[in-house]
C-alpha cells in the first residue's frame, strides 16, 4: 500500500512538472494540423461582420476559420494575402504564419484559394480605407485532390 501511494505521488509530481515545463516553453502551435471551427467564403465572412459585428464576433472571434476567396492582393513584404471582391473596399486580410510566407511566390492574383487562420477581429471602416476582417497565423492547406 505504502508503495502504491509513493508511486501515485511520484506520478502526480511528474505530471505537475511536465505541466509547469510546458507552461513556460509551450510555443504557439501551427494551425497546419488544426481543425477549422468554421468554414466560410470571404464574401460571407465580411458580410457577417458588416451586418452585425457583435454576433459575428461571437461566431468567429478567436476561432480557427477556413476562408475561401479570390486573391485580391498579395503583400510580399508583410506576408499578407488579401481575399475578397475586386470591386469592394472590404476584404479578409490574412497575415501568414512565418513558415508559410515563402508560399506566396506560388500564388496568383485573382485565383481562388482557401486559407486557414485565427480570426483576430474586424476593423470597421473608420478611416475611409474600407473595412477588413483580419486573420493571423494563417496557413495554406495543401490541396487534397
Amino acid at each position: 500500500m505504502k508503495r502504491f501511494v509513493t508511486i501515485v505521488v511520484l506520478l502526480v509530481l511528474i505530471a505537475a512538472g511536465v505541466y509547469a515545463y510546458r507552461m513556460y516553453t509551450g510555443k504557439v502551435k501551427s494551425l497546419e494540423d488544426a481543425d477549422a471551427d468554421a468554414t466560410v467564403t470571404a464574401i460571407d465572412l465580411v458580410a457577417a461582420f458588416e451586418k452585425d459585428s457583435a454576433t459575428a464576433n461571437k461566431q468567429y472571434l478567436g476561432k480557427i476559420v477556413a476562408v475561401t476567396g479570390n486573391i485580391k492582393s498579395i503583400e510580399k513584404e508583410s506576408g499578407s494575402i488579401v481575399l475578397g471582391e475586386e470591386a469592394s473596399m472590404s476584404s479578409v486580410r490574412c497575415s501568414l504564419d512565418t513558415n508559410f510566407v515563402k508560399k506566396i511566390a506560388g500564388l496568383n492574383l485573382g485565383n481562388q484559394i482557401t486559407i486557414k487562420g485565427a480570426c483576430t477581429g474586424f476593423n470597421a471602416d473608420e478611416l475611409g480605407l474600407g473595412s477588413d476582417v483580419v486573420l493571423n497565423r494563417c496557413v495554406i492547406p495543401a490541396n487534397k485532390n
Binding site: G26, L61, R93, G121, L127, N136, R137
Partner: protein, 184 residues
C-alpha cells in the same frame, strides 16, 4: 487665356495633386512590445496594424486588434488576451495624434526627419495622453514611420495578479516600425 487665369489654373492643378497624395496608409503595420522581466522577457509583434498619416495636417492614427499580437509562447498569448488585456471586452487599441513638428518634414524630398508625436492612446478601454519621438523617412513613393516609447502598465488599468507581480515588469516598451504607401 490671360496670365492670371493660367496661374490660377496651375495652382488649382497643384492643389489637386497635393490633396491626392496627402494621405499615406498601411493595413499591415508592424508594432511590437517588449517588457523585460526577471523570469522571462515578454515580447509580441503585431503585423496587421492599420495606420493613416495625413501629411498636410500631420494627423496620425493607428488602430490594431489586440488578438492580432503574436507571441512565441502560447500560454503567454492566452494570459495576455484573457487576463491582462481582456481582448474579448476591449478588442482594439487605438492611437489618435499629431506630428507636432509636421512643418519641418519635407515629404517631397527623400531623407530621414526627426518627429515628435503627441496624442491619445487607448488600451484596455483607458485613454491616456502619450508623447513620443520618432522618425519619418521619405523614400521612393512611400514613407517609413518609426518610433519607440514606454508606457506604465498601471496607467491602463491592467491588473497583474500579485502572484506574478515581481515577475512582470511595470513598464512596456512599444516600438512602431511601419511602411506607409500613398492612398490611391
Amino acid at each position: 487665356m490671360s496670365i492670371r487665369l493660367t496661374v490660377t489654373f496651375a495652382f488649382l492643378i497643384f492643389a489637386f495633386i497635393s490633396t491626392a497624395q496627402d494621405r499615406f496608409y498601411t493595413k499591415s503595420g508592424n508594432i511590437s512590445f517588449y517588457s523585460k522581466a526577471p523570469l522571462e522577457d515578454i515580447e509580441a509583434t503585431h503585423r496587421s496594424a492599420v495606420c493613416v498619416l495625413d501629411t498636410k495636417t500631420g494627423s496620425l492614427q493607428f488602430t490594431m486588434l489586440i488578438k492580432g499580437f503574436e507571441f512565441e509562447n502560447e500560454e503567454m498569448q492566452e494570459h495576455f488576451n484573457e487576463d491582462y488585456l481582456e481582448s474579448n471586452k476591449y478588442p482594439k487599441a487605438e492611437f489618435k495624434g499629431q506630428i507636432v513638428n509636421n512643418a519641418t518634414v519635407n515629404y517631397g524630398r527623400p531623407g530621414t526627419y526627426p518627429v515628435r508625436v503627441t496624442g491619445q492612446l487607448t488600451i484596455h478601454g483607458v485613454t491616456k495622453e502619450v508623447q513620443s519621438a520618432g522618425t519619418i523617412k521619405v523614400e521612393g513613393s512611400g514613407l517609413v514611420a518609426t518610433s519607440s516609447f514606454t508606457i506604465p502598465v498601471a496607467d491602463y488599468n491592467i491588473k497583474i495578479p500579485s502572484l506574478v507581480k515581481d515577475k512582470v515588469a511595470k513598464t512596456v516598451k512599444i516600438t512602431v516600425d511601419t511602411k506607409l504607401a500613398p492612398f490611391k
